[in-house]
């Protein structure tokens, strides 16, 4: 029988340990597309291992590019972009056991301000919880030596062409001049056209292969469009605007508190005080929505309430509460989390104990047009909604 890992002794190819995380998998339950959810999960697990490794082994601070959690990229595209000093590195994380080739989607090569200095071939083994970095190539090598596959718009390089010794990588990234170029690209696609393309692509399995590459590139290099496209594929037309609440809220299942009180006795008690405190008016709203969490054990109905008060300086004072619907008490361990969807950063989490009839996230103030996410989680079931304040 072969020892644990064949690569262990080849110090030229680093083996990173990683933490598989069923909780993280649950966290992405709201990603509708199965392969997108898997891709996001893999990239996320691998990026955690990489960032830790760069920090602990080399005292280097690497960052995900273009932001802390590029879900809007990962849901359509494979590849883990990191910034290390002035270099950009794209890690291609593959589940293969063999180290035969590096495959890089055209996007990472041919969109000018997306291109990287280095492309690293990484094999992830979730069963053994390992990430093996086994080879890399600089941009020019992938571009010039790579075989281009029109079937899936990918460049591939044989392992015989890759540099399979990371001592070379360390010296190169330190001394080699950067090849990445950053340039301002004016998005040349008219809004109406972007809108119609985005409409057309919303349900196809591989949007990146649905249209000529140049057209596709114009779309996805634009941050705003890419983020909107992600929301749309997630079944959200847009994050819910909390400004002056209107039709879009009711279309998506939100109602005024009054209509729901009979269903949630615990809420009835609270509403009175809520009304008194907030003095609901033109500048204060409270809406709620019944949500259904389907855990593997049971279906649980809960009620999420959002109260917003617009301050004189236009900032929003927001309060979030969660109530049971059919039972007097909340199910134990149900959690409510406030986070920023762009960075995956959790701002606040509250969890119900065994005798809570409601839980709340204390009121917080935020400026206009801030994007935030509320997630409710119970065991393996998750509900999520994004809002814009």
């Amino acid at each position: 029988m072969i020892s644990m890992s064949l690569q262990f002794d080849i110090c030229a190819q680093p083996v990173l340990s990683l933490q598989t995380n069923p909780g993280l998998w649950r966290h992405y339950a709201s990603v509708i597309n199965v392969d997108a959810r898997w891709r996001i999960y893999i990239q996320k697990i691998a990026s955690q291992a990489l960032l830790t490794w760069f920090g602990e082994e080399f005292g280097l601070s690497a960052k995900l590019w273009p932001n802390g959690a590029p879900l809007d990229i990962w849901h359509i595209l494979h590849g883990l972009p990191l910034t290390l000093g002035d270099k950009r590195i794209v890690f291609m994380v593959d589940e293969a056991i063999d180290t035969s080739e590096l495959r890089v989607p055209k996007e990472w090569i041919d969109i000018p301000n997306w291109r990287a200095d280095y492309y690293v071939a990484a094999n992830i083994d979730l069963d053994k919880q390992q990430l093996l970095l086994w080879g890399y190539a600089p941009y020019s090598m992938v571009k010039n030596l790579g075989a281009y596959d029109v079937a899936d718009n990918t460049y591939s390089l044989s392992y015989l062409d890759l540099i399979q010794d990371f001592s070379v990588f360390w010296v190169a990234q330190q001394l080699e001049p950067s090849e990445t170029i950053s340039m301002e690209i004016s998005s040349s696609l008219p809004l109406a056209q972007a809108e119609s393309l985005s409409q057309r692509l919303v349900n196809v399995p591989e949007p990146r292969l649905e249209m000529p590459f140049d057209q596709w590139a114009v779309l996805i290099r634009c941050d705003r469009w890419r983020q909107q496209f992600y929301q749309r594929r997630q079944g959200h037309a847009f994050p819910l605007g909390l400004g002056r609440w209107g039709k879009q809220l009711t279309e998506r299942g939100w109602q005024t508190l009054d209509n729901l009180i009979p269903q949630a006795p615990a809420l009835a008690l609270r509403t009175e005080s809520l009304n008194k405190e907030k003095r609901l008016s033109d500048d204060a709203f409270a809406y709620s929505k019944t949500i259904l969490l389907k855990t593997s054990i049971a279906d649980v109905k809960l009620l999420l309430a959002v109260a917003v008060e617009i301050q004189a300086d236009e900032r929003r004072n927001i309060e979030l509460e969660l109530y049971p619907v059919d039972d007097p008490l909340l199910p134990e361990t149900v959690t409510m989390t406030l986070s920023l969807p762009d960075s995956d950063e959790q701002l606040q989490t509250v969890q119900a104990g065994s005798r809570d009839n409601y839980i709340k996230i204390p009121p917080f103030l935020c400026p206009v047009d801030e994007l935030f996410r509320v997630s409710i989680q119970l065991a393996d079931a998750v509900f999520q909604e994004d809002f814009v304040s």
Partner: protein, 408 residues
């Protein structure tokens, strides 16, 4: 134990002969022998210095293989690469004790692909074909072993997820399929739709796709098939399922092949080759001159690096020097070194990396300052091969294993 060949004649015309998984002898190919003898005689008349220098002949045959795609040159190189291939296999077998793959198995797997190594080797900056081949052979054999191991512990469907597309394609080609593109697409659709559930199961036990997954795969397949030329026919659930079963079978067959002996000497009975060699190809004097030039350049560069490295090693602190000796001279694994030095294995690997990086840095900066060689990944990798080879030779002079007959 294998003994290294010592004269130019043998090095370019004999092949490893195994007996029951062990090295038995060097078996000559008489046609290559005759050809080599003729070449040595020509050179002898011109410059006796080159007579025994394998480095020169390696370049010579490599260049004539490159320029004329000569199959005879390829066979000379195949004979030449027997040793790095054997050592690579022996090294893998020693470090990863396994009954699944003997030294002979590993050797056969790797040597059968030697022409790929010729195609990918890029000469320049003193790096030799031999050093490149040894690490490439090592990678091939490790790859092969990893797959054998994976094949053992994975379900059919788990195994499919754990193959690279390149590997899959090789398996399909080996199985003789002609509709490779559509099979690869089916496999891609499978990978997109079927994976383990991180909450419950491991990839190694991945089950047969369920009907819902199959429907998703079919939808995907039928949509993406239009990107292929010619466009393959539309498939239903059964047809896609059948296609994937073909892939599974091809992969299983490919990963546990019966190793056939390829590239063995063809002319092993003296005299048999006579007719053939009568029309033997004569190389132009130009090929010879180019090889002399390339060889001189390589040697000059290696001599310079030699000095830089000697200095760099001497200036390392004693613990680092000791580490290098353990690793390169005594051939200890990192684990063994860790035990000897009473430190953790990761510290050994960290330290080794650091030392190797320092050496490379030294040579790279010297190259930039004195020879104006730009610091680029593509150059660094060649320099690094020279360093690695140098370290092996430097530390293995008393060790029979790695006694390379390298000329400097």
């Amino acid at each position: 134990m294998m003994h290294s060949r010592t004269n130019g004649l043998d090095i370019f015309s004999t092949f490893v002969q195994f007996a029951e998984d062990r090295f038995e002898s060097w078996r000559p190919d008489f046609r290559l022998l005759r050809n080599m003898r003729a070449h040595l005689a020509t050179v002898d008349a011109q410059n006796a210095d080159f007579l025994e220098q394998e480095g020169f002949w390696a370049i010579y045959w490599y260049q004539s293989w490159q320029q004329q795609a000569s199959s005879q040159a390829a066979m000379h190189l195949c004979a030449y690469l027997q040793e790095p291939c054997y050592w690579a296999s022996e090294n893998v077998a020693r470090r990863f004790v396994t009954e699944q793959c003997t030294v002979a198995d590993g050797f056969q797997v790797a040597i059968s692909d030697f022409e790929r190594i010729l195609k990918h080797y890029k000469p320049g900056h003193g790096n030799t074909l031999k050093a490149y081949a040894r690490s490439a052979f090592g990678n091939m054999i490790r790859n092969h072993l990893c797959q054998l191991q994976a094949a053992k512990i994975h379900s059919d469907w788990g195994l499919l997820r754990r193959l690279s597309q390149a590997r899959l394609k090789q398996a399909l080609l080996a199985a003789g399929f002609t509709d490779i593109a559509s099979l690869i697409l089916a496999w891609q659709c499978f990978k997109a739709c079927c994976h383990a559930n991180p909450q419950r199961s491991a990839t190694r036990g991945l089950p047969v796709p369920n009907p819902e997954q199959l429907t998703q795969m079919v939808e995907r397949y039928n949509r993406l098939r239009h990107r292929l030329t010619p466009v393959p026919p539309c498939l239903n659930d059964q047809a896609l399922s059948a296609k994937l079963m073909q892939v599974v079978k091809a992969v299983r067959r490919y990963i546990n092949p019966t190793v056939t002996s390829l590239n063995q000497p063809q002319n092993t009975v003296e005299g048999q080759e006579l007719m053939e060699s009568l029309r033997g190809d004569r190389d132009s004097p130009m090929t010879y001159l180019l090889a002399v030039e390339a060889h001189t350049e390589q040697q000059r560069y290696r001599r310079q690096i030699n000095t830089v490295l000697e200095n760099a090693i001497t200036s390392l602190d004693l613990p680092s020097q000791r580490l290098l000796r353990f690793y390169y001279q005594e051939n200890l694994t990192q684990k063994e070194i860790a035990n000897q030095l009473e430190i953790k294995q990761y510290q050994v690997s960290r330290k080794l990396n650091w030392v190797r990086k320092q050496l490379l840095l030294n040579v790279a900066e010297w190259g930039q300052n004195t020879l104006h060689i730009p610091i680029k990944s593509t150059v660094l990798v060649e320099v690094n091969e020279v360093i690695h080879e140098w370290l092996q030779r430097h530390y293995s002079q008393n060790d029979q294993h790695d006694q390379y007959e390298l000329t400097i």
